[in-house]
Amino acid sequence: AQSVTQPDIHITVSEGASLELRCNYSYGATPYLFWYVQSPGQGLQLLLKYFSGDTLVQGIKGFEAEFKRSQSSFNLRKPSVHWSDAAEYFCAVVRDTGRRALTFGSGTRLQVQP
């Protein structure tokens, strides 16, 4: 069963507009949650993570994400998108802390229009 769902395969926004990328997980307990970004030809870079505590987490590059237990969601947001934000974004969870393995969603490709 899919543990992490990113419903949007592809999103296009205008530069300066706000952004929200969706991520839903299916897991009984609260997993550890992550957002990674992958630029063309680059490795994945960690944007932010949630383990516990404050449900609104701040990350690098002006990104933030909010954990909503009732909706099993961990959506990524940015108030004003820059052209350099165009990339592939992956939501990931650690379901089994013993395995330490990240389970990734299938990704959302972000295009930024000038």
């Binding site: 992956f90 393995a101 990734f104």
Partner: protein, 115 residues
């Protein structure tokens, strides 16, 4: 601080040929991971090392894939023989390996094309 280094960055081989990928993790990172990323998909774990021990290789197709991490630092992932379906990006990642430290740092990957 240097990041995770992988080589080669690109490899094109014919099916049934062997191929090897090399990874040098971030200095001091005891945990090393190999992931497979198919086109349009998120990465999937192949194997995880804690120091030199492979502690999770349940997703590694052992009939043709093998990996090693000698001396608990560098690692090599091998495919022999390669099949057309092995065309993908192979990512290496590392982490400190401490309890509750799940932050993984990824290399740029090796893009394999099997013809």
């Amino acid at each position: 601080e240097a990041g995770v280094v992988q080589s080669p960055r690109y490899k094109i081989i014919e099916k049934k040929q062997p191929v090897a990928f090399w990874c040098n993790p971030i200095s001091g990172h005891n945990t090393l991971y190999w992931y497979l990323q198919n086109l349009g998909q998120g990465p999937e774990l192949l194997i995880r090392y804690e120091n030199e021990e492979a502690v999770d290789d349940s997703q590694l197709p052992k009939d043709r894939f093998s990996a090693e991490r000698l001396k608990g630092v560098d690692s090599t992932l091998k495919i022999q023989p390669a099949e057309l379906g092995d065309s993908a990006v192979y990512l290496c990642a590392s982490s400190l390996g401490q309890a509750f430290s799940y932050e993984q740092y990824f290399g740029p990957g090796t893009r394999l094309t099997v013809t």
